[in-house]
């Protein structure tokens, strides 16, 4: 990948100094150098890209992180932060001549404050663990990526992760109040506050979604939300994906913001049903899941209103979850969509474009055409409420040429998202995967501004180099093959 090549190779002496320095900072078992120990770190959830790092550091304390950063800064060694490694864009893919800084040992929930409704946590804490710890107080952490049993809050912050309830409850950026961050030179700063704002520029917004390129999150304070008394979900079947898409607009036009609003097409429903037996309608071309939460009276009112809209929009079947077990079953299918597709294909690529919903019909039609063109299957899972589309491109890496075809197909979908006024990534990040398509979405001046933001925090481009923002050279290469801007 461009990143590794663009970064300077270390001399033997420099490597020796680095290893000696790290040994002084870390216990023996916290520094991995042997090739067999490095292999588990060679990729994240984007397994099509693999790269062994120089070494992996697994610090336990903030002081160790600071000391590691200082050393790497002094020796000009790249540092790639890693949470749980569930990222889907190669954000945590190592850099050949760099250190992987794993935050996996930062697993402590430091404080749950039921009065202020906040949780103070270390970056390696799993997303779901926060909600579990808050549950006794009737609170939970709202953003719920489907990977929530595994992914870390540090990774969520770095990607601005979303979930199926984000239309109503917001993304990570809306639910994090404060982070403590170590800058590349080891300086520790507090960004945001336990109040609702802080003086000066909104650096918190810059940190969230910055893909580990501006600083290392050492600690975070997140907002906790009161658990609604009741939640119920409507599952509606449609004989046409376009009708399902229009139904989404109709619900919103009726003044309803459902707690969750998700859509799956037939290939996705099929894969899921075989896997989790959620009771999905296999004859439907698309199904919609629309959730309502609140007081029992409120839920009854909203569910009735949504059913009326869905019926008018042409749903062929409407089912309302009868109890909590059934609600969870309906969602289990949606949440298991990626692994379910993973079962029916050796490999898959998950795309993440966001589009203005009104272009859904056009985009889905084009995706189907492209699938034909590239001779690959594709299932679509859609955060319908906020326009975030996850086409899952199925392929077999062992078949000559399929990786390339899948990657090219994915690239076309991303460009299509940009063409209709959307974006190449809604929640998974650019990482290594979409760095080329950034040239389609942004002009050279805009990309230069991004590099300037990066330099404001990390002058020598040591944190996660080569990710997210392409160099001008990368864009000229991309331009030769793709459709770049300006």
């Amino acid at each position: 990948m461009a990143s590794a090549e663009e970064h300077r190779q270390l001399t033997e002496t420099e490597i020796a100094r680095l290893v000696a320095g790290l040994r002084r900072i870390l216990a023996t078992d916290s520094l991995l150098v042997a090739q067999e120990d490095l292999v588990p770190y060679e990729c994240d959830g984007l397994t099509a890209y693999r790269q062994l790092p120089l070494l992996v550091a697994l610090p336990r304390t903030e002081e160790q992180v600071v000391a590691i950063l200082k050393l790497c800064h002094e020796l000009r060694v790249p540092v790639v932060a890693r949470g749980a490694g569930t990222g889907l864009s190669g954000g945590a893919t190592p850099v050949k001549h760099g250190v992987v800084l794993s935050l996996a040992k930062f697993m402590r929930i430091l404080d749950i404050d039921p009065v202020a409704r906040t949780a103070r946590v270390q970056p390696g804490v799993r997303n779901l663990a926060i909600s579990e710890a808050a549950a006794p107080h009737g609170l939970y952490y709202a953003p719920d990526p489907s990977s929530q049993i595994a992914c870390s809050i540090g990774g969520n912050i770095a990607e601005n992760a979303g979930g199926v309830h984000c239309l109503k409850y917001g993304l990570t950026v809306h639910n994090v109040l404060r982070v403590r961050v170590a800058l590349i030179d080891g300086t520790v700063v507090e960004i945001g506050s336990e109040g609702l704002d802080s003086p000066g520029y909104d650096l918190l917004a810059l940190m969230i979604g910055s893909e580990g390129m501006l600083g290392i999150v050492l600690e975070a304070t997140v907002k906790l939300t009161p658990k609604p008394q009741l939640a119920q979900v409507v599952m509606a079947s449609f004989d046409d994906v376009i009708k399902a898409g229009n139904a989404v607009a109709d619900i919103i036009a009726a003044g309803i913001i459902p707690a969750g609003l998700e859509m799956m097409d037939k290939p996705a429903t099929r894969a899921v049903e075989d896997y989790v037996h959620a009771g999905y309608d296999l004859s439907a071309e698309a199904i919609l899941l629309a959730e309502s939460d609140g007081t029992p009276e409120e839920v009854a009112e909203e569910i009735a209103a949504m059913c009326a809209v869905l019926e008018k929009s042409g749903a062929t079947d409407i089912r309302v979850s009868r109890d909590e077990a059934e609600r969870l079953k309906f969602w289990a299918g949606r949440k298991a969509a990626f692994p379910a597709v993973g079962r029916i294909t050796p490999d898959y690529l998950c795309m993440d474009g966001t589009i203005p919903r009104k272009h859904l019909a056009h985009v889905l039609t084009r995706i189907a055409e492209l699938a034909g063109e590239y001779k690959l299957r594709c299932a679509n899972v859609f955060h319908a409420g906020d326009g975030n589309l996850h086409p899952l491109i199925m392929f077999d890496a062992n078949i000559e040429g399929e990786v390339e075809r899948a990657t090219a197909f994915g690239g076309r979908i991303l460009e299509l998202s940009v063409e209709v006024g959307g974006t190449i990534t809604g929640e998974h990040g650019v990482g290594i995967e979409k760095v080329g398509q950034m040239c389609a979405q942004f002009s050279k001046e805009e990309l230069a501004a991004f590099h300037g933001v990066k330099a404001a925090f990390d002058e020598h481009t040591l944190l996660n180099p080569g990710k997210a923002v392409p160099t001008p050279r990368r864009c000229s290469e991309y331009r030769l093959t793709g459709t770049a801007k300006g």
Binding site: G138, V189, P199, P228, Q229, G255, G294, G421, G426, V430
Partner: protein
Amino acid sequence: MSERTEEFRERVLAAAVEKTPLRIRGGGTKDFYGNAPAGELLDTTGHAGIVAYEPTELVVTVRAGTPLAELEAALAEQGQMLAFEPPHFSPLPLWERGRGRGGDGGAAGEGIGAAPPLPQPLPHEGGGEFRATVGGCVAAGLSGPRRATAGAVRDFVLGVKLLDGKGEVLNFGGQVMKNVAGYDVSRLMTGALGTLGLLLEVSLKVLPKPHAEATLLLELPQDKAIEAMNRWGGQPLPLSATCWSDGLLTVRLSGARAAVVAARAKIGGEEVADAEGFWRAVREQQDDFFSGAAALWRLSLPSKTAPLALPGGQRVEWGGALRWLKSDMPAAAVREAAAQAGGHATLFRGGDKSAGAFQPLPAPLMQIHQNLKRNFDPQGLFNPGRLYAEF
């Protein structure tokens, strides 16, 4: 590029050559806010109009000079709103009347219930009326009563079109709800007081207006009110605003009819008749609390912070997270108290701004601010010193 954008661009390029800073102004309703504005006036009000609005996409894109009131009216027609409820400060806040050029100064000290007199229409330096603009609203980053539950301006900014200090037109974010391509520069612009560039267009997420609302009034001392706000905040209640002032706690509920009815029974208190007027006055700082000569401080604190043991009138909003303090205490003492509580203090109006309007930043953060400023505005053309004297 539109003619107007081209005009702005030429202004910026000329300013760069002449090395004359520019003072960006929309409606000019927030001139009081931040440090004193400096530079040649660059008026955005001509750059107005809604570019795109699709209610079912929940997104609106507007030119920065569009009057906030015009945008809000267009949204209301579709049953939607800006959920962060931004203050317009026009008509001018009570404390602005009688200051400057031509207010009558008569409002201070009038009894509760007396309708405050309308402000004298003030001549705008650039001509026209005092009208808050969308650009000013985003640049100032000020949110209203619904902020604690619905979110702040920054939470609803989806994208911006910006003219930077090199005269380049840049687009960040977009017109979609979720977008993580590149750093979140759109949100960075929110609250930057125009120091990073001239906003040309902004895309905002909009929301449907609540189906039902009710406003309740309870008699409670400040400590009990703060406790109650935090307790209710931890329950699944449709709270949409809270305000404690002078022994009275006012609570607004918004949402589905059934939810509002159930919550009203739970919270108790008296129903407020002119609820809309009440919250407008709070938002626009037009009620009696804001009269008087003392400096007005805005303290942003963790919501459960106990009442501040500071001399001067206090008002509590945002579930406890926003405290207004009218006090002539030394700035350093107010700031120290805010920092002790885990927050920060802004000298919102009046007082001695020689130590800056905003809480000073720790050195490493100031360095990052200066680096960012240099990135977007290398020659320091836009609103120098408005946020911090250092840039």
